[in-house]
């Protein structure tokens, strides 16, 4: 039996709850695909932990919505909010299903991972070389999203995953980074990590 945390109502703005659900569910999908294709058990377990968080948010959001409707018109438009929240919840469930492929040791044929890496353009995994110019720079100061449309979603360091790293997290040699973004941006980013590109363009 999994452990279910007791849920009690506490006031949190609907916007905050929905925003976190949307961000987390999308992050989870990308992490889950990475976990499945690289057969990474720890990363898969982190995805499952995030799923619990989204479930909790989903309950709190439903409670807020029930308290918020004051007339039929508001009830109508809040029903829409509830539908969108449940869609985000479904996406996080879908991510957990992917993670379960790894945790239940079903796995995916290794050739698939290899081919997938070649055709998939929005997700990449790269090791930071000792000659990379990114060493010692924080995620925030690199402004990757603004510069090249890239977002680092996880860092593997000392056998542990740092999920959704903070702005002040500094990149170290040997880090394995999972990043998502546009294909051209990811290519540039990969070269920077591998030390093949020596300049950050604006």
């Amino acid at each position: 039996m999994p452990y279910f945390e007791k849920i009690e109502y506490r006031p949190v703005p609907v916007r905050e709850l929905l925003l976190e659900m949307k961000n987390l569910s999308e992050l989870m999908i990308d992490l889950a695909y990475s976990a499945a294709l690289f057969n990474d058990k720890e990363l898969a377990e982190d995805v499952l932990a995030l799923e619990n968080r989204v479930d909790l948010l989903s309950y709190l959001l439903e409670m807020e919505i029930m308290l918020a409707a004051r007339d039929p018109e508001e009830a109508e438009s809040l029903a829409g909010v509830s539908t969108v929240a449940s869609a985000a919840d479904k996406i996080s469930d879908a991510a957990a299903d992917i993670a379960a492929i790894v945790t239940q040791k079903i796995g995916i044929h290794p050739i698939v991972g290899e081919i997938f890496e070649k055709v998939e353009e929005r997700l990449t995994r790269v090791r930071v070389a000792t000659q990379s110019i990114l060493l010692g720079k924080s995620i925030g100061e690199l402004e990757l999203a603004a510069r090249m449309g890239v977002d680092v979603i996880a860092i593997r360091r000392n056998k542990e995953w740092i999920i959704d790293p903070k702005e002040n997290e500094k990149i170290q040699a040997g880090d394995i980074l999972i990043a998502r973004g546009t294909s051209t941006g990811l290519e540039e980013f990969k070269e920077l990590c591998e030390g093949k590109r020596r300049r950050l363009e604006d």
Binding site: V14, R15, L18, L19, K22, N23, E26, L27, I29, Y33, A36, E76, S77, L78, A79, G80, V81, T83, V84, S86, A87, A88, K90, I91, D93, A94, A95, D97, I98, A100, I101, K105, I106, G107, I108, H109, P110, I111, V112, I115, F116, V119, E120, R122, E143, A145, A146, R147, M148, G149, V150, D151, G181, T182, S183, T184, G185
Partner: protein, 191 residues
Amino acid sequence: MSKRRQKFEKIVEMFVELKNTSELMMDLAYSSLLMNSKELAEEVEKLEEYVDRLHTDFELLVLSSGFKREEARGFLGLIRLGVVTEKIADAAAEIAEVVLREIAPHPVLKLTIEEAEETVTYVTVSENSPLVNKTLREAKVPEETGMWILAIRRGDKGIRPKPQTRIQAGDILIASGYAEGEEDLKKLASP
């Protein structure tokens, strides 16, 4: 290249199409909410039917690939990945349904979409924009802004972008990407 390898490549190719389409659908579904646009919502519903068909073809291909007994687990993993993309497509279709049922999107939805890490946005191309008369291939919008063009709205027509699509003044570009790219896109489209 061996026959077997070719079969694998075909399976992966189909899976990537399923994955990309389901993600495009989520972006378009959020765009339809943001703009309260039935037309975009209908596009999502159409894509849902496409994903359903593609998903069936994908499952048939995996099942007919003649895998060995000891590989069964790996192939089960593939089947499950396919199911997940279909779930995501369903979730997107449910979001689009809110718009199609003419429920006016609650203001909180717009705020959430705008504030999210990955956002969708729309901009109108003005006459003096460097984008006017360029094809999407020439315009290099993702390279310049980090934003992807999901759809173009011209008059009351919706266009799914192709590399050779030519941008015109007055076009509304619907794009997704990180919030940081939004300003760049706005500057490019209406300087």
